[in-house]
Amino acid sequence: MFPRFSHARPTDLQAALALLEQASGRIHAGGTDLLGCLHDGVLTADTLVSLSNIAELKGISPSTENGLRIGAMTPIGAVAAHAGIRSTYSALAQAASVVANPPLRSQGTLGGNLCQKTRCWYYRGDFPCLRKGGDHCFAFEGENQHHAIFGGEGCYMVHPSDTAPALAALGATCRISGGGSSRSVPVDQFLMPALVDPQRETVLEPTEILTEILLPPAPPGLRSSYRKIRSRQAWDFALAGVALALQFDGNVVRSARVFLSGAAPMPWRAQGAEAVITGNSLNAQTITKAAAAAVEGAEPLQHNGAKVALFEGLVAESLETMG
């Protein structure tokens, strides 16, 4: 049984924002991450402000900029099944379709997927780690098979979301409301580096709500994909994943965005690989060089060295299927 909390389920966004201001509440979207954290005592909550009855936060529709607007409360399964996303933004459809399993995809929301807490076993377990206000990351010298090989500044978690790298590769933007105004943050800047604030996973203020995710119009020649490797075939987080969004001009890649999941505390931009691919066709030589560049500078910990080879192979394989 969870410790007691109060609960409100407003029907419009302004009411939800007002409740957050006055009640220091926690947002409840689908609850699939939140309730697990409350159950394990990782988080506490005085008040839950549920967004589940706010119709304006749900659904997928054309955006005013000729792209797509996805309400933050849209179920992950609906994102995976959406015909327009499958045809135009395949990386996102593929990522959404490999999140967890069917029940969790129909309950979990896209917004919640971006805002979820890390699955690091020290964070979820009984350890006073950096993210919970402690003074260090236990994974650095502990059991770190699943942890970061890039960007472990203070904390070596890997961000659990599959949709975040796909959205980052596609150049999506988060729309945020709160404090009487609204703002936009690109998905690749939505997550908070541990060096800046280890106790906040995202740039959201406690009184802010992520309201929608905007996909820009797809440029001509866009091809995108998301693949992940996991320890079992379903219901598992990425050991290594890669989202590609490449804009082709005939055979030549005019521009490239490559983001890794399971690599770092946030989707990790593989700029080295992007540079190798850009301006080239995806022949065997380019692919080998790009895959090597994707893992250049990796700093594996004691037990996760295998990830380096895993990423190199995965990036090569994903580029091969794209060419």
């Binding site: 409100a8 201001e21 609850g31 506490t44 399993n101 069917p102 029940p103 969790l104 309950q107």
Partner: protein, 209 residues
């Protein structure tokens, strides 16, 4: 629990509707009262100890009951309504023992607060019975010997029911993927896949008749 939150003044007072209006800061109140009907739209925050009256539609019947905001649908079904067919496993979305249908889709009752289930159609394993007779998916699990200890079985059957409602003719691969949210410690997986397949066959034959 060791790190239970401390009771705050607000919690002790309970945040009633009146409490909310009087404690809310001027800025937030301004936001909440845009137009004249906005204040009406801001719902009450129920006090943590308070019981909330809700109506749950379970297996076609409306149950009116008082629940605490922290009660899960799983707890409410089993401990308040006596519907013990839905099983308790991990209580954190990692096993599927608690699977029920919400608006026809398989969902984990342990990851759903009862207050969040209001307004939805809930189906539990009890709702698949046809009087004293087993429902067709249940019967298929018996025929195919699709369990050993049986603990995961109600959840497996609800997942199968949801899958077949969405996809009446699943391929073996689709069955495996569709059932991937339900673990079986006894590893009866082969028989489970066969049972779902045979239930699908049975329904198609029923439709053809």
């Amino acid at each position: 629990m060791a790190n239970k939150p401390k009771t705050t003044d607000r919690e002790r007072d309970g945040v009633t509707r009146r409490g909310f209006i009087s404690t809310v800061g001027a800025g937030a109140l301004g936001a909440a009262t845009v137009g004249t009907s906005r204040a009406e739209a801001v719902p009450e925050i129920t006090a943590p100890e308070a019981m909330v009256q809700i109506g749950l539609t379970i297996n076609g019947r409306i149950h009116r009951l008082l629940v605490e905001p922290r009660w899960t649908l799983l707890f409410t079904l089993r401990e308040r309504l006596g519907l013990t067919g839905t099983k308790v496993g991990c209580e954190r979305g990692e096993c599927g023992a608690c699977t029920v249908l919400i608006n026809g889709q398989p969902r984990y009752a342990c990851m759903t607060l009862a207050v969040e289930a209001e307004g939805s159609q809930i189906t539990t394993i009890e709702g698949l019975m046809d009087g004293e007779a087993l429902g067709d998916v249940q019967q298929a699990f018996v025929n195919e010997d699709a369990f050993q200890c049986g603990y995961c079985t109600p959840g497996q059957i609800m997942a199968a029911e949801g899958l077949l409602q969405a996809n009446p003719s699943p391929s073996t691969e689709e069955i495996r993927k569709g059932m991937s949210g339900n673990l079986c410690r006894c590893a009866a997986y082969h028989h489970i896949v066969r049972a779902v397949d045979s239930a699908a066959d049975g329904r198609r034959e029923g439709d053809d008749r």
